[in-house]
């Protein structure tokens, strides 16, 4: 049993059957749980070995291999993206080490002592803040999701990715701590002509986006904390913008400059990249909000069920427009829908964990979820999105995602 469990733990794919069994063991007897848990000799004939020493900075168990994966292996160093393994996570918080990445020019390693945030433009008093200044303002902490607007965009052309990680993994959720941007703007004194704020990162490409002043004064934060510790370098250390509910690209990392202006700058990303090209040749501009979306993460593509019986169907839902009001699950491709349980907390602009007990009868099934938010918006089907936008858009895809369960227990794209 011991060897078997070790073999299982080497497998970094999520297998509901394996996990379910481990949970059963853990709940069953302490002895079984202990043996399954590791290699330490706790029941040897010569007595028990003391465990490992303490560590100044913790690491996960060496048996845990869950990892991000590059979206497109072989891209130029430092550019590109990596995907969060949604199917292997619990609850709603993404461990910082597994937060998705999207870099346009690599990850700068910034010494916070040398880092400065310049706030200038249409303000009474241009200011320069060090990290220590920022930390002296009254802080806020919020659980917010981040989603690259390109997440799942391959789905515009049809089912394209075989696992939750690969089709929706440009999505993560963290607790972010920082100072409201409005605090800094008030400190500098915004002039009446101000309409937008350009945020610029300290990466080599000086990635920049314009944010409407109304949003900047509403709920945007300059974050230095992520899940209780400093923001990771990949996430913008020492400080970044968090623009709740809005596409990832505008959540400027390595924030070094805020320029209050009277019109959008029309940087490449806002003028000619993160715009959705429609079938008629026109493009949506300033598609900021990430609309309601959900995905079943278990059982899902790339996994295998170990025979008929009881399983939990679970996944994540979120909306950048309003709080999630409900999630429904179908196991027959959308003919019938059942209400899923929402785990607490259910927070605006945060991931929501949903679940439903399910007894698999061994027949083919097509599993998916759809969510509705408090604005009354319901996650659309693939067909509805394509009817509205065509297949040439590359961003903001939020269609219902289906997984096909075969009699063999294998799960694939539907």
């Amino acid at each position: 049993m011991k060897d078997k469990d070790i073999d299982r733990s080497k497998d970094n794919r999520s297998k509901p059957d394996a996990r379910g069994r481990r949970r059963f063991l853990a709940a069953g007897t302490a002895v079984a749980a202990t043996v399954a848990g590791g290699l330490t000799n706790l029941w040897g004939e010569d007595g028990r070995d003391p465990g490992s020493p303490m560590r100044s900075y913790g690491e996960r168990s060496p048996f845990e291999k869950v990892a991000r994966r590059n979206s497109r292996p072989g891209q130029m160093t430092g550019t590109g993206s990596s995907l969060t393994p949604l199917e292997s996570l619990y609850g709603i918080i993404t461990p910082s080490a597994l937060h998705y990445e999207r870099h346009h020019s690599g990850v700068p390693m910034i010494d916070p002592e040398k880092h400065e945030l310049l706030l200038h433009g249409l303000v009474e008093k241009p200011l320069v803040f060090k990290l220590e200044d920022i930390k002296r303002f009254p802080s806020v902490s919020h659980i917010y999701f981040l989603e690259c607007s390109g997440s799942g965009a391959g789905e515009y052309q049809g089912a394209s990715a075989p696992t939750p990680q690969q089709t929706a993994g440009l999505f993560s959720c963290s607790e972010w701590t920082g100072v409201p941007l409005s605090t800094l703007l008030r400190e500098a004194g915004v002039k009446p002509a101000a309409k937008w704020v350009l945020a610029e990162g300290g990466d080599a490409s000086r990635n920049a986006r314009s944010i409407p002043l109304a949003k900047a004064m509403d709920d945007v934060i300059v974050a230095y904390g992520q899940n209780g510790e400093a923001v990771r370098p990949e996430q913008g250390y020492p400080m970044r913008l968090i623009v709740p509910g809005w596409e990832g690209n505008i959540n400027t990392k390595w924030l070094q400059r805020l320029h209050v202006i009277d019109q959008p700058s029309m940087t490449r990303d806002e003028a000619a990249d993160y715009d959705d090209l429609l079938g008629n040749g026109k493009s949506y501009r300033f598609s900021f909000v990430m609309e309601a979306k959900s995905i079943v993460t278990r059982p899902a593509g790339g996994q295998r069920l170990d025979g008929p019986g009881a399983y939990e169907i679970t996944g994540l839902a979120w909306s950048g427009r309003a709080r999630i009001a409900g999630v429904e699950i179908s196991t027959d491709g959308g003919k019938n829908w059942r209400k899923a349980e929402l785990q607490q907390p259910v927070l605006k602009n945060a991931a929501v964990r949903f679940g439903m007990p399910w007894n698999w009868d061994g027949n083919e099934a097509v599993i998916g979820s759809r969510c509705t938010d408090e604005s009354g918006y319901t996650q659309p089907t693939h067909e509805q999105i394509v009817a509205a936008r065509g297949t040439h858009a590359r961003f903001h895809y939020n269609g219902i995602k289906w997984w096909r369960l075969q009699k063999s227990g294998e799960l694939t794209n539907a």
């Binding site: 990635n207 759809r370 509705t372 509205a388």
Partner: protein, 186 residues
Amino acid sequence: MACGTLQAQTNSGKPGGLGRPATAEEVKQRDITTLPNGAGLPDGKGTAAQGEAVYRDKCASCHGPNGEGVAPQGTQLVGGVGTLASENPIRTVGSYWPYATSVWDYIHRAMPQNQPGSLSADETYAVTAFLLNRNKIIEANEVMDKESLPKVRMPNRDGFIPDARPDVGKNGPPAEGSKNQKPPAR
């Protein structure tokens, strides 16, 4: 003690006095923002003829000798005008980008990818002119500078409409058999 002071200041609604004033000098040094009306563009100038050599040395290895693109590292920069509504839309500087200032801004910020910030203002104007010329938007001898660049009218200038979402999803839950259902009438 500092906390108490700050608290009092914040609660009074007055600025907390944190941060230091930025000098005009350092603002000028760090401010690289450009606007479509040309605000923020620096002095300097260049033509397509001058930009050809810059492009060959700094850009062609990723974007191809004529801006045709090199997969996967460099996108196509030239051509594609008239394709956006077709079955195979080609998004390039010429066919898609609505403002010439955005081209200048992006090259200045982010290019070349292996050494962003290494091009002078003159080189940036020149290579921008080169791309505009290869896209048949300006003549080879037209001088691009902070006056002329914002006046360039890009072919797809009017190709953008405000985000119309929610364009789907407001009709309540989809009907039964959503996988095969017809899209709602629009």
